[in-house]
Symmetry: C2
Subunit: 234 residues, 2 copies
DNA sequence: CGGAATTTTGACGATGCTCAACAACGGTGG
DNA sequence: CCACCGTTGTTGAGCATCGTCAAAATTCCG
């Protein structure tokens, strides 16, 4: 086994990224054009307006995908985690800006080479279609929240999602989660301001639905049912 | 040429729907499972919560794709026109409700059969991937509008899109468009109320940027530049 | 022509944003 | 070890925008 294959074999996301649709043998060509790249927290990876010349798999870390207005208002339209595919498929010019939230490792492919690989690997293309369709459904659900839900519902819904996706049950029957992003990023994600997010969190705490120490990232969902109720009706 | 092929050959969207990626010969299998269906205005085609058992091409008419909360708040997350593909790909349960806005003709396929056809026709699958990716980009742009733009910007932006996409230049240098949906649907699309949409339209008229007669669907963009300005900064 | 549905307009109020001050935390250097 | 400072988060007061409720105007359609 040569070095290239060795690298993929040891890859953290060999089994969760698009690559999981390919056998070791099929992976060779893609592997040869893949370039590992480490990005520090806060750095912009691709910028709205730039031509799209490469795609990537997220290997480790986290990134935000954001749209923004000319005068600087920003909305986070998606988050990327290990195994996720990064890039605006088939767009000649990026309309979104992607920024690393934490130190991040990417496995980056030149656009044309990657698209050629899609041509020869139907299972990979299918997987990409499935993921794109899922992202579209998610984006549409979020449009409902951004347009029609009030601040309380949005914040409660966000914590519910975290709890369901990454929560761990503790001794007292609560569900512990670590909020992976800052208040500012939460606000940018939920279509609110920092102050409103902060107020809603203290409101949830006052209502006894969640518990956390001020300004901490660690949070315990005390009353899942109650929180679910708030997520649906303020 | 048998009847089935004849039907596709005469089809209004033979060259704009996914079918345009297939030759007449390749179309036979898909054609045989396609069922034409006419839906009256206002009728629900697929409902959130139902299992996804079929997909369809829109042949004529228009539909809305909407997400809604338990207590009845609704957000239109997409519109479908002739040539568009309809259905939540690979979802086992629909999360969105699709309703005809006008009398509509569909060419409907059973889910499993259609997915099998995708397996054998790489160009069709590629076209579907391109369209899904484009829809995702569009949804994300709209998330920015719903979360961060004010009522004036949203209404102006909507008219801009109409004018660019379906406008016709008139004698006085204005751009004429027909607003294809009711105020209520505009509101549901823009994340506003009917009253706010109405007020913003009269505001644009008072500012001399557009002209229309009260409660009419026909509208003239008088000052495109000015309208563009409002779309970006209220 | 008449009644229902849609649209417009007005008055009022709540929600969430802005601005501002304060608190908590983490690192840095004396 | 602790004073200092920048960053992040919390809290409060006031206000603007948009939603709600209600009524009038207009259109649609039988």
């Amino acid at each position: 086994m040569d070095l290239v294959q060795q690298r993929c074999h040891d890859c953290l996301v060999r089994d969760t990224s698009l690559c999981s649709s390919l056998s070791d043998g099929e992976l060779v060509a893609l592997s040869q054009m893949g370039r590992r790249r480490t990005v520090p927290a806060g750095q912009v990876v691709t910028c709205a307006g730039d031509p799209v010349t490469s795609y990537a798999n997220v290997v480790s870390g986290a990134l935000k995908v954001a749209a923004s207005t000319a005068d600087g208002r920003e909305q986070i339209v998606g988050l990327l985690f290990p195994g996720d595919f990064m890039g605006q498929l088939f767009a000649d010019e990026a309309s979104l800006t992607i920024t690393a939230l934490t130190p991040t490792d990417l496995c980056s492919f030149p656009r044309v080479g990657f698209e050629r690989q899609l041509d020869c690997h139907a299972r990979m293309e299918r997987m990409l279609l499935e993921r794109t369709a899922a992202s579209l459904n998610e984006a549409r659900e979020r449009m409902l929240a951004l347009a029609r839900k009030n601040a309380g519902e949005r914040v409660a819904g966000f914590i519910m999602q975290l709890a369901r996706h990454a929560g761990t049950r503790n001794a007292e029957g609560g569900v512990e989660v670590t909020i992976p992003i800052s208040r500012g990023e939460m606000a940018a994600f939920l279509g609110l301001t920092i102050e409103t997010v902060s107020r809603q969190l203290t409101r949830l705490k006052a209502a006894g639905l969640v518990d956390f120490v001020k300004a901490e990232r660690r949070l315990v969902v005390v009353d899942m049912r109650g929180l679910e109720g708030v997520a649906e009706t303020g």
